[in-house]
């Protein structure tokens, strides 16, 4: 374990975190919310100071291996969430530090589960920071940091292990030879899409502040809104815009790069994209029929179904309807979609469409293997054979995912004793970075403020595990990780 390199990394991350926190400070200045100035200035000072100190530790040996990659990612996220929680805590918006930490983790992991009951009463600067965490966490904090790492650093070592640990999906590839350039391209596309959404939201009648808040929420597939009722009271036009962008942000960003390179055909051929779109279309159709009688017009029923389906499958978690009132069939579909999640390489959470495709194909193949034991058959995705290591990884992922799910459900049940549906869906929604669950407490119109501190800690862990795809969060508990070789 290269501790000095880890420390150097933390320094870099803290500096970037400090600079990012200046943005909400500016927002607070614009709105003249003098009571919150200090709650931003203190953490900014702490981060910049700590960061500059740690960066001076630049080690001679800057090699980062798989192990360091995982540990680095896991600890960075925890560290940044711990520091990011300070403005909420210092400003007194949240009664205790655990609540603030939960809210920040929920922000960075793009979950969107909140402990706030009355959002509209919060200072605008604080809410802006809350939504900005979505935007940063969506594409990845370390991917962001890679853009700014000094050239001398990236020349010596490949940051691929770090990138692999942070970018979601069963297999991660660079799109250009240099990691730094890859990160820059990803963020460029991310920014372009975000700005496009801001413009459309402005067109729909939101003010600049609201437009940014909701664009951040959509881009990171997070789901924090600045309204108590989320998107429910917004105009149909705004709802359709958000539906569109929720789906756009659940698509693998590599496809946008192909489109940018004018390789339309290759982008549209993507097997994962096809499956994702078909899945969305089918679910929207079924839910529309299922909830038709609850709405006055078919358009409203369709819009409700489309909004909630995109919101859940993209793991954004915006709410336009109280889907707790929907028939059981529709609610069950919502829960299933939570597990599925978005496409690999997007900003969305969940298990990812391509990983589920691999798992299903693997299961079918193994079934066939029973009948034809000598047959050699590899699993194909996007027309290419998937190597066995990736297939095994997907299976391992599923195993740990289920174990984690079961343990977390038991713990939350022990701490809070809610009804079964609420207990189960609160864990599911956090593990998949969705946000709202099903049931009175954690459902579409509820929030997490009433949960005990124990549950909040468990759910925070689930959110981090879900965002980082389980392995990094588990590896830090692996004793051999910390032993000297």
């Amino acid at each position: 374990m290269n501790y000095r390199m880890l420390a150097y990394f933390f320094g870099q991350i803290l500096r970037i975190g400090g600079l990012l926190m200046c943005i909400p400070l500016i927002v607070a200045l614009i709105y003249g919310e003098s009571q919150t100035y200090l709650s931003f200035i203190i953490p900014i000072a702490v981060q910049l100071l700590g960061g500059c100190l740690l960066v001076r530790l630049l080690p001679k040996n800057s090699n980062i291996y798989a192990q360091e990659g995982f540990v680095c990612v896991a600890l960075t996220w925890i560290l940044l969430s711990a520091v990011g929680a300070l403005p909420f805590f210092i400003s007194g918006c949240m009664p205790n530090y655990m609540d603030a930490f939960f809210e920040t983790v929920s922000g960075f992991t793009t979950t969107g589960a909140t402990v706030l009951a009355d959002i509209e009463a919060m200072p605008k600067g604080i809410l802006f920071w809350r939504s900005l965490t979505h935007w940063i966490g969506g594409m990845g904090i370390l991917v962001f940091a890679m853009m700014f790492l000094p050239k001398t650093q990236t020349k010596k070592t490949s940051m691929m292990h770090v990138m692999r640990a942070e970018v979601p999906g069963p297999s991660v590839g660079k799109i250009v030879p240099k990691v730094g350039d890859t990160a820059r391209i990803l963020y460029a596309m991310y920014i372009v899409l975000t700005v496009a959404e801001v413009l459309l939201l402005l067109l729909g009648g939101m003010n600049l502040y609201e437009a940014f808040i909701h664009a951040f929420g959509t881009a990171g597939t997070g789901g924090f809104s600045c309204f108590n009722s989320s998107i429910a009271e917004q105009s149909p036009f705004l709802q359709y815009v958000i539906i569109l962008f929720m789906l756009l942000f659940s698509v693998n960003f590599n496809l946008y790069y192909l489109v940018f390179l004018k390789k339309w055909k290759e982008a549209l051929k993507s097997e994962e994209l096809k499956v994702f779109l078909i899945l969305v279309a089918v679910v929207v159709a079924v839910i529309t029929l299922n909830i038709r009688s609850q709405y006055d017009t078919i358009e409203h029923a369709f819009r409700a179904a489309a909004f909630q389906t995109s919101s859940i499958i993209s793991t954004t978690g915006f709410v336009s309807e109280n889907f707790d009132l929907w028939p059981a069939m529709s609610r069950i579909l919502m829960v299933v979609l939570m597990f599925v999640g978005a496409c690999a390489g997007s900003t969305g959470g969940g298990m990812k469409v391509s990983r589920i495709m691999i798992l299903i194909k693997d299961a079918v193949r193994d079934l066939g293997q029973l009948a034809h034991p000598r047959r050699v058959k590899s699993i194909r995705l996007e027309g290419k054979a998937v190597d066995e290591q990736t297939v095994n990884n997907a299976s391992t992922y599923l195993q740990f995912y289920v174990i984690l799910l079961v343990l977390a459900v038991i713990l939350v049940a022990a701490f809070d004793g809610m009804d079964m549906v609420s207990t189960f869906t609160s864990v599911v929604t956090c593990l998949n970075n969705v946000g709202p669950g099903i049931g009175e407490v954690v459902g579409a119109v509820g929030n997490y403020s009433t949960l005990s501190i124990g549950s909040k800690a468990v759910l925070s862990f689930c959110m981090l595990a879900g965002r980082l795809e389980v392995f990094p969060m588990l590896i830090i508990f692996f004793p051999s990780t910390w032993k000297r070789a």
Binding site: R375, V376, K377, R380, A385
Partner: protein, 453 residues
């Protein structure tokens, strides 16, 4: 013609054998002194021990005077380097064997950019021939002439075939189809039959006709076989890969490949998504039966060992498989195979060697007018079938065939003129620009003029 051949393996040996017969001056280069010695003792050639890409060795072989340099060592890359060096050192034409499937697709690029005259790929040629056989399962062998407009097929006459006991004249009157029986192999003899020749059971006859005529003849004779829909390939080497790719492209054919090397199987599976790949010992009859050899329309045995291929063909025949094609490397086994009634067998190196010979004849007569366009060796190399394009200075132009003084053991089979097929009877004549198919037992016919006395 001065020819240098670098690398004496199976193909190199076959090339020497064919080219010596054509009376060329041949120099062979190989790193193994034993091989060089063996070839020099067997054929009238000059041998050099060394690396075919090394300049001193090439100078020793007088590459500057060579009209043709052929590189057929084990390694594709070495062959390419050999040819490039030889070309720069003065060889007029170069031929390289390149058989890696990854290079196979860039043939045109390598010819134009690396200055090669010809690339040969025995495995690809063999796969091409097998896929033709599978498309026309009733024939033991098929050759195509005149841009595919004319087929030459070889069939074995079994007891009870309506053709047995008939003379060629009788066949002409009894059957409506326009066909020409151009060669008959009986025991160890080969004939170019005349009108009064009577066919017997166990003869293997070669028929020249258009594709549709042959198909309808087969129907009349009752020897058509049903179209092949499933193929089992045993042995997943390069031929197996090329063949499976071809069959997959043709569509509608289910392909199953059996190989006992696990890594080969994984590699094939990646390249051939639609094929069933089975990792098992393909010479084990239990395995073959479990994998459904009985339900296959065709079995192709392509393992590296001749004996195993023969055993597989026996297992296949036991399971009543319609069409069996096997690869046989040793030419000495050919006569044995006729006894075994095994219907189709192929020897990749001889297919390729014949291609090279055709090229050599075309090059050596580049001044000649009626250039050779296709060359196939028939019935154990004893006959050759060739295709020429007649030029205006061919002395036989416009002369009726019965008045033409054609050499002994030579037969003009047919002409393709403006896309119409003309069978060569006594009153037909060869006109300029005709594609002429000639069958001959004489060696080294490289120009249409050579068929005249």
């Amino acid at each position: 013609m001065n020819i240098i051949i670098a690398g004496i393996g199976k193909l190199g040996d076959a090339l020497v054998e064919y080219l010596v017969q054509e009376n060329h001056d041949i120099t062979i280069i190989d790193t193994n002194p034993v091989t060089v010695d063996a070839v020099v003792n067997k054929y009238d050639v000059f041998g050099i021990v060394g690396n075919g890409a090394s300049l001193p060795i090439l100078q020793e072989a007088e590459v500057q005077n060579a009209e043709l340099y052929i590189a057929v060592t084990d390694s594709d890359e070495l062959n390419l380097v050999c040819c490039m060096v030889a070309k720069k050192a003065g060889a007029q034409h170069t031929i390289a064997r390149v058989r890696n499937p990854e290079y196979a697709k860039q043939g045109a690029f390598m010819r134009s950019e690396l200055g090669l005259s010809m690339l040969v790929n025995p495995e690809y040629d063999a796969a091409h021939e097998i896929s033709r056989l599978l498309q026309f399962p009733a024939a033991a062998k098929i050759e195509k002439f005149a841009r595919g407009r004319v087929d030459m097929v070889e069939i074995a006459l079994t007891e009870g075939n309506p053709l047995c006991g008939l003379s060629l004249k009788q066949i002409g009157t009894r059957f409506a189809e326009q066909i020409l029986i151009c060669a008959v192999s009986r025991k160890d003899d080969v004939f170019i039959p005349k009108g009064d020749f009577v066919l017997r059971a166990d003869d293997r006859i070669s028929i020249v006709a258009s594709h549709s005529n042959i198909a309808s003849l087969f129907r009349t004779l009752g020897i058509t076989k049903k179209k092949i829909r499933s193929v089992m390939i045993i042995g997943g080497g390069k031929i197996g890969y090329y063949l499976a790719t071809r069959l997959q492209k043709a569509g509608g054919i289910k392909v199953k490949i059996i190989d006992n090397n696990r890594d080969t199987c994984y590699e094939l599976d990646k390249l051939l998504p639609k094929c069933d790949i089975v990792c098992a010992d393909g010479t084990d009859s239990d395995v073959l039966e479990e994998e459904g050899i009985g339900e296959c329309d065709a079995v192709v045995a392509l393992t590296g060992i001749d004996e195993e291929n023969i055993i597989i063909s026996l297992i296949a025949e036991l399971n009543k498989v319609d069409k069996v094609v096997i690869k046989v490397n040793r030419s000495s086994l050919n006569r044995l195979l006729h006894k075994l009634q095994s219907e189709s067998f192929i020897a990749p190196r001889y297919i390729t060697a014949a291609n090279v010979v055709r090229y050599v004849r075309a090059v050596s007569h580049s001044s000649g007018m009626s250039k050779i366009h296709a060359l196939h060796k028939l019935v154990g190399d004893q006959l050759e079938a060739m295709e020429f394009i007649a030029s205006s200075d061919f002395p036989g132009c416009g002369v009726k065939l019965k008045n033409l003084n054609v050499r002994k053991n030579t037969l003009v089979a047919c002409m393709l003129r403006n896309d119409t097929l003309i069978y060569a009877n006594g009153d037909a004549e060869i006109l300029p620009d005709d594609r002429v198919v000639v069958i001959t037992a004489n060696e080294a016919v490289s120009d249409l003029r050579d068929i005249l006395e």
